[in-house]
Amino acid sequence: MRSYKNLFLWFFLLAALASVPFLLPVYWIMILTEILVMSMFAMSFNLLFGYTGLLSFGQAGFFGTGGYLAVLTLLHGSTSIWVALVAGVLGSGLIALIIGWLCVRRDEIYFAILTLGFGMMLFTIAHNWRSVTGGSDGLGNFSVPEVDFLGVVLTLADPKIFYFFVLIIVLLGTWLLSRIVNSPFGLLLKAARENSNRIAFIGANVRSLRLFAFVIAGALAGASGVLFAMFNRIASPEMLHWSFSGKVILMTLLGGSGVFFGPAVGAAIFFVLEHIITSFTTNWMIFLGIILVLLVLLFPSGVLGSLLETWGRIRKGHKL
């Protein structure tokens, strides 16, 4: 019964997302594209944070690495978006493997600060290695790739086509993530978050578990970075800065880190809020600050998380 309902929900969501380009004006298609990209980034971060209990302040480093590698590929290697995407994902996954290998030895606040440090080292590389990365101006001026879809050549420069392209990649990423968190491995991750000693007792290696999650999160952050760089036609050093990691943490907590789709909802809330606030004031920082404080105090499990909790209580109430 439950799985049917889920299936229906999925179908409804997909139908809604697929019909959007035919209903919304161009600007909102683009905002939705950005929300999708950031959703995948935030959900991949949440594999670390919500499921593994590791607060990483350096995810932007992998996000940006993906973006830069994709643009470098398009400029100097192949003109195929698929090659660029693979380069971005593998490259950021590899960097995540190296950094993760060092970072998973620490936890809690020390893990957070350590990832911040490594993320900022990647930022410095992007910012200072001017001959390769273009320095602070970023790396752009590539021609937006085309995709061959069943013999029809489509250009990703078209906002609608790009939206569908992003939708497919993000759905794939989301599917992968949901498979992982619902697998026995995902259960082990959650168990390790609650009590790492017990996991060690039953013979699992907590560090390897965490490292695996770190690499997956890094690679998917890289994939999001590729999409982001394609969307903005540039890879810029800001993509690697800690404040960008902070933005993803904010989205995740906004939506709710305890729910699979929480980060995606958080990303959507963030963009809509930003749109509304900046439309009537340039002092958006003070409004964002007030909203953040209120959300933490009123919705400590995030908006989606708290709503689901309330919904759960109501349903239980009916049964009683």
Binding site: P25, V26, Y27, M30, I31, E34, H127, N128, R130, G135, S136, D137, G138, G140, N141, A157, F228, N232, R233, I234, S236, P237, E238, M239, T278, T282, N283, W284, M285
Partner: protein
């Protein structure tokens, strides 16, 4: 009862028709503005907004553009590329602006320029100085009305070539702007004068933007024994550097100092008499460099309304609105393609002087000003005495040199 109802209906209908026609006649010309309005560099956005609003009011008072009023839409780039691109897309797709004016950060300008090709909307850059947007990165829709980095550095090199300094070093912010300033300075100065020594990059000082303690860099430059220093710091960094440098004996007269953005009014107003005298400083626009009626009217109106002398960013936004209005009047249209066509080669008398948009790369050929800081009891800030003006054609590199290919 019934009569009154019919009367009511017809009055409403009439009102509707009237408002409709009034609306059609007054359908405004929409100009989008993108500046840094929040965060550490918000002061630049604030100045630009003041300049833009002054210009819009003046244009509207004079009858608008081709009889239509001008309406400004202001967006905050926050100095970040992704936000800059998003708000420009918003301005074009949502607000439906006829042109975009602005951009402070060179990073944002580099990111936005290629996007304008897709948006097919004219962009007039008023502050960002990176040579690339009217050079290797140029395109049909991107214009710049302000002095760019090469033009400013060309003046610096001219002044440096007349001085005595033999060994040159730099203090510049550690991002593209600081490094490019130093590279062009070496190039232009060695073209003018031979036998000079330029310290290599690792011996020069490139403090990161977030630096607040400049003492190590000051010590580095003092102990390098260079007798000429090009300083391309700006804003808060420059203020900190000047104050700490004063205390540490940097301005002891033993070295020639050129500050490429030392005559920016936001810096001069903050430092007041803490700005050393006798230092060569540059800017993009200096409020009393010009005795033309256009400039006097602008400076007076601005000072009257906002209580300070206009900064270069205020001038940039003001000038861009005025140029757009003049181009639209000449084209008798605000059609984007026609505006682009008219702006190419367009010439206009602006407060800064006569500005010509070069058709090949869309860079403004505009006069530049450098001067030596001096005290003036009548003005609260340092003024420029002597003032040196450079003709636009003498400081603008040739199109071939810029690397711009419009296609």
């Amino acid at each position: 009862m019934k009569k009154r109802f019919i009367l009511g209906i017809s009055v409403c209908f009439l009102a509707l028709i009237l408002s409709g026609t009034v609306y059609a006649a007054a359908k405004p010309v929409k100009l989008g503005f993108v500046y840094i309005m929040s965060g550490p560099f918000a002061t630049y956005g604030q100045f630009a907004k003041q300049g833009a609003e002054l210009a819009i009011d003046e244009v509207n008072k004079a009858g608008g553009i081709n009889g239509r009023t001008v309406e400004g839409f202001f967006e905050d780039s926050t100095g970040k590329s992704d936000v800059g691109i998003r708000v420009i897309r918003k301005l074009v797709y949502e607000a439906g602006v006829d042109a975009v004016i602005g951009l402070d950060s060179s990073g944002v300008a580099s990111a936005v320029t290629p996007v304008m090709k897709e948006l097919k909307t004219p962009l007039i850059i008023t502050h960002a100085a990176t040579p690339d947007v009217t050079g290797t990165n140029c395109n049909r829709y991107t214009f710049r009305i302000s002095l760019n980095l090469n033009q400013n550095i060309a003046m610096a090199a001219k002044i440096a070539s007349e001085g005595k300094a033999k060994t040159w070093t730099t203090v510049g912010p550690d991002y593209s702007f600081g490094h490019q300033s130093w590279e062009y300075f070496q190039k232009y100065l060695s073209q003018r004068k031979s036998g000079l020594v330029f310290l290599p990059d690792d011996k020069a000082a490139f403090p990161p933007l977030s630096t607040t303690d400049f003492s190590p860099y000051i010590t580095k430059v003092i102990s390098s024994n260079a007798d000429g220093v090009l300083i391309s710091l700006w804003g808060g960094n420059l203020i900190d550097f000047v104050r700490q440098g004063m205390d540490m004996g940097f301005f002891d007269g033993k070295r020639e100092v050129l500050m490429t953005l030392g005559a920016a009014t936001e810096v001069l107003y903050a430092l007041k008499d803490k700005m050393p005298e006798g230092i060569w400083v540059g800017t993009r626009y200096w409020f009393n460099a010009n005795n033309t009626p256009v400039n006097k009217a602008f400076v007076n109106a601005y000072h009257k309304r906002f209580g300070v002398y206009p900064s270069y960013n205020a001038h940039g936004a003001y000038a861009a609105v005025k140029m757009y209005a003049a181009a639209a009047a000449k084209a008798k249209s605000v059609d984007k393609e026609k505006i682009v066509g008219t702006l190419e080669g367009f010439a206009l008398e602006l407060p800064v002087g006569k500005v010509v948009i070069r058709p090949e790369d869309h860079q403004a050929v505009t006069d530049g000003v450098w001067g030596k800081t001096a005290a003036d009891p009548k003005v609260p800030i340092r003024v420029l005495k002597p003032l040196r003006k450079f003709a636009g054609k003498d400081i603008t590199p040739s199109v071939a040199e810029t690397g711009c290919k419009m296609k």
